[in-house]
Amino acid sequence: MLSSATAMLALAAFASAGLVMIMRPGARSIRLAGSVLGLAGVAGLFVEVLKLASGGAGIPPVLPVLFGAIAIFGAARVITHPRPVFAAIYFILVVIASAGLFLLLGADFMAFALIIVYAGAILVTYMFVLMLAQQSPQDGETSANWYDRAPREALSCVIIGFVMIATLGQVLFNPNEEARRVASSVQGEVQSDADLWNTLSRMPKHLKSIAREKLQLSRDEPITFVASDPNAVVQSDGKDHFVVVTAQGKDQRISLSAADLPMNAQVVGTTLVRDYPASIEVAGVILTMALFGAVVLARKQVELGEDERRVLAGLSRLSVEPESGGPR
C-alpha cells in the first residue's frame, strides 16, 4: 500500500483536479464531474488524516468531519461563484462551519466571537461595499460581470494551491519517526486540564468565591490561601485538586472538582489581561489607526486643477485669465 504521505499527495491531487474542473467555465457535466472528484478527494484526505489520530474514544468523529466538509464546500463556492454577493454569503457559511470546529476544539468563546466579528461585522461591510460598487452587467443574459465569470489561469493557480497544500500537509501530518521526534521537541507535554487548573490558580477572586460558596461563608468574611508556592495555589495530590484556605481562624482544605474549572471565556479573559496587556493596547492603537485611515480614505476627493495645485504648492499660476475654478 502507499505510504500515508504519498496517499495524501495523491488525494490532494485529485481534489485539485476536481477544483480545476469546477472553476473553468465549461459544460455542466464537467463541473459536476469535477465536484464529485473534488468531494472524493477531500473525503479521502479526511480519512487519511483521521487514521493518523489513532486511539481516542472509538466514537466515529462525525462532527469534525461534518463541519470540515461544510467549510471546504463553502470555500469552494466562494472562489467559484460568479456573483460576488453570493461569494460573500458562502463565506459566511464558511465562518459558521469554522465556528463549529472551534467549539469542538474547546474554544467556545472564540467561536462566538468569530461569528460576531466576522459574519456580523466584516462580512456586512463587504456587502455594503459590494452594493456601492455594483455594476450592471453588459449583457442581460446572466447577471454576472464578464470578469467574474471566468477565472484567470485556473490551472496555474490550482497548481500553486496544490503545492501549498502539499507542503502544509507534509509538514503537519508527517507520521515519520523523525517528524514525531521533531514535533515533540517543539511542543510541551502538558495536559490541557492541568493548564486550566493553573489558570484557576491565577484567578484569586473566582477561587475565593468558590471557596466561600463551598464553605458557605458570607461575602465579607476574610479568607486567605495557604500554599507552599504562591503561584500554584491549587495543589494536587495525584488524584484530587484542592486548595487550602484559612478561614474563620482555621486551615481548611477544600477539594475542587471539574465543575469548578473556569470557563473558556474566563480563561481567555484572564490570559489576555494578565499576560498580554500590552498587546491589547497595541491592538487598540491599530484599530484607531484604521479608523483614521478609513476617514481619510473616505473623504470626498476634489479634483484640483493645475493652477490650484500650483497655488497650493506656492508657485505662480500658469494661465493669465482669471481661473473660474471649473473642471478642466
Binding site: 484567470r152 496555474s156 493557480c157 500553486i160 503545492v163 501549498m164 507542503t167 502544509l168 507534509q170 509538514v171 523523525e178 521526534r181 521533531v182 521537541s185
Partner: protein, 722 residues
C-alpha cells in the same frame, strides 16, 4: 700577436697573457675639470634650447656650439698633455646609482657612479672625436645657413647633445654610464637624421636607425646585466682585475661565453655591420655634416670602441673573436659590392663606411686592436673629408648629388679646392701606398693573412679583394664627378634634398645630356667650409706620421703606444704572423694591397673617365651571360636586404598585429566586454515577467517563496537539528 693555441689551457698565467697586463686604475679627484669635456657640450645644448625657446634668428647657436666644442678639444689636449700614457685614472664626478640591500648573498650592492675612466684609449678616441666635432661644427655653420631662423638652432642643439653623449660614452668608467652615452648618441642620431621632419623619407630613416640600434642595444643591455651577474661589477677597473683570473672568472658555466656575443650584437647595431646595417645608408637623409660627424667619423666607431674597451672579455673567448672577424670581413665585402652600383654619392660613401667599419671589426677579431684603432683614426679623417666635400658639392649645386648628373666639377670655378681635397680623400680610402690608411689597413690584413687559422687567412684574402673593389668604386665616383667634361644639373632647391636614387632602378649613366641649365650658377663654398676641409685633409695626411715614425725613424707608433697602455693591450703587439706563400705576411699584404689599389683605380679610370660608355657595355655583357645576369641588378638593389627584412619581420608583425586587432575587437571587446554587459540585460529580461504589474502574479510568487521557506525549514533545518 695573439697566439690562440695558448688559450687551450685555461691557466691563470695563460689568461693573464691572453688579456695582457692592464694597469690598475688610480683615483684622480684632481682631474674633476675633465668633466667639463662632457659638460661643455651639454651646456651648449642647454643654451641652444634656450635660443630655440627665445626664437633666436641669427647664427648664435652655431657660435655657442663651436665655442663649446673647441673648449672640449682644448681640455682633451690638456688632459692628454697631463696624462699621456700611464695608469688609467678614475675621476668621480657625482654619485649616480648606488643601491645596496642586505642579504646573506654575494650581491649586496650595485653602484654605478657617474665617473670618468681616463686611459690612453679614452684620450686617443676623444682627441679625434672632439677635434673633428669642432671642425665639422664650423663647417656646418656655413653649410646650414639657409636654415637660419628655421631649424638652425635645432641642428646645433642636436650636435651638442651628440657630442655630450659621445663624450659620456667614451669617457665612462662603468658600463652603465657607457650605456647612457650609447643611448644618447642614438637619440641625437635620431633627432638629426630626422632634421628635415617634413620629409617622410627622412622620418622613416630616423625611425629605422633608431629601431635597428635598439635591437643592438638589447644585446648590449643583456650583456651588461650578465656581466654584473657573472662578475659582480660593471666598473671597468674592477672588472679588469676580476678578469685576470681567467676564463673561469665569475660564475663560469654558460654566461661568460654568452657575454661577448651579446656585447657584439650591440656593437654591430651601432656600427652598422651585418645584420643590422641597413639603417646607415638611409641615414644619409640627414644633413651632410651629420652624416660626416655621426655616421662616418664618430658614432659608428662606438661599436669598435666597445669591443676594444671590453677586449679582455673577448680575448678570453676565441669563438667570440672569430665571430667578430667573420662578421667584419663579410660586411666589408658585401658593402663594397653594393657600393659599386650606387649612384648617389652620399650613399656610396655610406656603404664605404660600412665596409671600412668591417675592416675594423676584422682587425679586432683577428687580434690586432692596434690595427683596428689605427684604422678608426685614419678613417675618421678621410671619411669626414669625403663627406664634407660631397656636402660642398651639394651646397653649391642645390642638392644635386647624383653622379650621373655631375661631371668635371674640378673645372668649375670655386670647386677646385673641393675637388682636389676629395681626391686626397679618395686616395686615402683606396689605401694608396704610403698613405696613412694604407698602413692601417695593412696592419689589419697582415694580421689576418698571417694568422694560423685558415679561416682568418681566407678573410685576409677577401679583405684584399675588397680593397681592390674599394679602390674601384671610390674612383668611379671621383672620375665621374670631378673629372671629365664639365656638366652639371642643379638639384632641387631644398637643401640636401635628394629625392631620387633611393631605389637605383634607373639605367646606368649612359651618355651625357648637354642640356644643362644655363640659368643656374653654382656657387663655390666659402671659407667657413674650406678651412675645416683643409684642416681635416692635413689631419688625414698627418695621421700617417706614427707609421712614418716607425718606418723611417725607427721610432714607435704613437697609436700603438696609446693602445698598448689601455685595456685593449692584448692586441697591441707588433703584427708579424706566419709566412704566406713564401713571403712574410707583411710583405705579401703590402704588395698585393698596393696592386689591388692600382688595379682598382685603373679599372675605374677605364670605365668612368677614358671611355664612359664602357660601364654600360660591361653591364650589358654581364646581363647577357646567363650566369652573371643577376649581378648588376642585385648589386643595384643592395642585395635585397631591406626587402628580406621586410618579409621576415615587418610582414609577420603587421599580420600579427592585424590578427591581434581582430581578436581584440571581436573576442575581448565584443565577446568578453560587451558580452558581460549583455549578461545583466539578459538576466533582467529573464526575470522581467515577474514584474508585469499583475497583482496575482506577485501573490503567486509570494506563495512560491513561502513554500520554499517552509520546505527548507521543515525538511532541512529542523531535520538537521533533530
Amino acid at each position: 700577436m695573439l697566439n690562440f693555441s695558448l688559450l687551450a689551457d685555461a691557466t691563470d698565467h695563460a689568461a693573464a697573457t691572453a688579456i695582457g697586463v692592464i694597469q690598475p686604475a688610480v683615483d684622480a679627484p684632481d682631474l674633476k675639470w675633465a668633466g667639463l669635456i662632457i659638460g661643455l657640450p651639454a651646456l651648449s645644448a642647454l643654451l641652444c634650447t634656450i635660443c630655440g625657446a627665445m626664437r633666436v634668428r641669427s647664427k648664435l647657436p652655431a657660435f655657442i656650439t663651436i665655442v663649446a666644442l673647441i673648449g672640449s678639444f682644448v681640455l682633451t689636449c690638456m688632459l692628454f698633455q697631463q696624462l699621456g700614457q700611464g695608469a688609467p685614472r678614475v675621476v668621480g664626478l657625482f654619485e649616480w646609482m648606488s643601491f645596496s640591500w642586505g642579504n646573506a648573498d654575494r650581491f649586496q650592492s650595485f653602484s654605478a657612479p657617474f665617473a670618468l675612466y681616463v686611459d690612453s684609449l679614452t684620450l686617443f678616441w676623444m682627441l679625434f672625436v672632439t677635434g673633428l666635432g669642432s671642425l665639422i661644427a664650423i663647417y656646418a655653420s656655413e653649410y646650414m645657413e639657409s636654415d637660419v631662423g628655421k631649424g638652425y638652432t635645432r641642428f646645433f642643439g642636436g650636435v651638442s647633445v651628440f657630442l655630450a653623449a659621445m663624450a659620456t660614452l667614451v669617457m665612462a668608467s662603468n658600463l652603465v654610464v657607457l650605456y647612457l652615452g650609447w643611448e644618447g648618441v642614438g637619440l641625437a642620431s635620431y633627432l638629426l637624421i630626422g632634421y628635415y621632419y617634413s620629409k617622410p623619407s627622412a622620418v622613416a630613416a630616423a625611425k629605422k636607425a633608431f629601431i635597428m640600434n635598439r635591437i643592438g642595444d638589447l644585446g648590449l643591455a643583456l650583456g651588461i646585466s650578465l656581466i654584473w651577474v657573472n662578475y659582480g661589477t660593471v666598473d671597468y677597473a674592477t672588472l679588469f682585475s676580476v678578469l685576470e683570473a681567467g676564463p673561469t672568472a665569475g660564475h663560469g658555466d654558460w654566461m661568460p661565453g654568452a657575454i661577448p656575443f651579446l656585447l657584439m650584437l650591440g656593437a654591430f647595431g651601432k656600427s652598422a655591420q651585418i645584420p643590422l646595417f641597413t639603417w646607415l645608408p638611409d641615414a644619409m637623409e640627414g644633413p651632410t655634416p651629420v652624416s660626416a660627424l655621426i655616421h662616418a667619423a664618430t658614432m659608428v666607431t662606438a661599436g669598435v670602441y666597445l669591443i676594444a674597451r671590453m677586449y679582455p672579455l673577448f680575448a678570453l673567448h676565441e669563438d667570440a673573436l672569430a665571430t667578430v672577424a667573420w662578421v667584419g670581413g663579410l660586411t666589408a665585402f658585401v658593402a663594397a659590392t653594393i657600393g659599386m652600383a650606387q649612384y648617389d654619392m652620399k650613399r656610396v660613401w655610406a656603404y664605404s663606411t660600412i665596409s671600412q667599419l668591417g675592416y675594423m671589426f676584422l682587425g679586432l677579431g683577428v687580434g690586432t686592436t692596434f690595427g683596428a684603432g689605427y684604422h678608426v683614426f685614419t678613417h675618421a679623417f678621410f671619411k669626414a673629408l669625403l663627406f664634407l666635400t660631397a656636402g660642398a658639392v651639394m651646397h653649391g649645386f642645390a642638392g644635386q648629388i647624383d653622379i650621373r648628373k655631375l661631371s668635371g666639377l674640378r673645372k668649375v670655378p670655386g670647386f677646385r679646392l673641393v675637388s682636389y681635397l676629395a681626391l686626397l680623400g679618395c686616395l686615402w680610402l683606396s689605401a694608396l701606398p704610403f698613405s696613412a690608411a694604407f698602413f692601417s689597413k695593412d696592419t689589419i690584413l697582415t694580421a689576418a693573412l698571417g694568422s694560423e687559422r685558415s679561416d682568418f687567412q681566407f678573410l685576409g684574402w677577401l679583405g684584399l679583394l675588397t680593397a681592390g673593389i674599394t679602390a674601384y668604386y671610390t674612383f668611379r665616383v671621383w672620375f665621374r664627378t670631378f673629372a671629365g667634361p664639365v656638366h652639371f644639373e642643379a638639384g632641387d632647391d631644398q637643401h640636401d634634398a635628394h629625392d631620387d636614387t633611393h631605389d637605383a632602378h634607373h639605367a646606368p649613366v649612359a651618355g651625357l645630356s648637354l642640356g644643362a641649365k644655363h640659368d643656374f650658377h653654382p656657387h663655390g663654398p666659402r671659407w667657413a667650409i674650406r678651412i675645416p676641409l683643409i684642416l681635416i685633409a692635413i689631419g688625414a695626411v698627418a695621421a700617417g706620421w706614427p707609421a712614418y715614425n716607425v718606418l723611417f725613424f725607427h721610432g714607435e707608433n704613437w697609436v700603438q703606444t696609446m693602445i698598448a697602455h689601455s685595456s685593449a693591450v692584448a692586441g697591441s703587439g707588433e703584427v708579424h704572423g706566419q709566412d704566406v706563400l713564401g713571403l712574410s705576411a707583411h710583405l705579401m699584404t703590402s704588395i698585393v694591397g698596393s696592386a689591388a689599389c692600382v688595379i682598382g683605380i685603373g679599372i675605374a679610370f677605364w670605365m668612368h673617365l677614358a671611355d664612359r660608355s664602357a660601364a654600360d657595355r660591361v653591364r650589358g655583357a654581364l646581363r647577357g651571360f646567363i650566369l652573371t645576369r643577376w649581378i648588376p641588378t642585385t648589386l643595384e638593389n643592395r642585395w635585397y636586404v631591406d626587402e628580406i627584412y621586410h618579409m621576415m619581420f615587418r610582414l609577420p608583425l603587421w599580420a600579427g598585429s592585424h590578427i591581434l586587432h581582430f581578436f581584440d575587437k571581436t573576442v575581448v571587446d565584443g565577446f568578453l566586454v560587451d558580452g558581460t554587459g549583455r549578461v545583466p540585460v539578459a538576466v533582467a529580461r529573464l526575470f522581467q515577467p515577474l514584474y508585469n504589474g499583475v497583482l496575482q502574479g506577485y501573490a503567486a510568487t509570494m506563495a512560491g517563496g513561502f513554500v520554499l521557506i517552509a520546505g527548507w525549514v521543515f525538511w532541512i533545518w529542523l531535520r538537521g537539528n533533530g
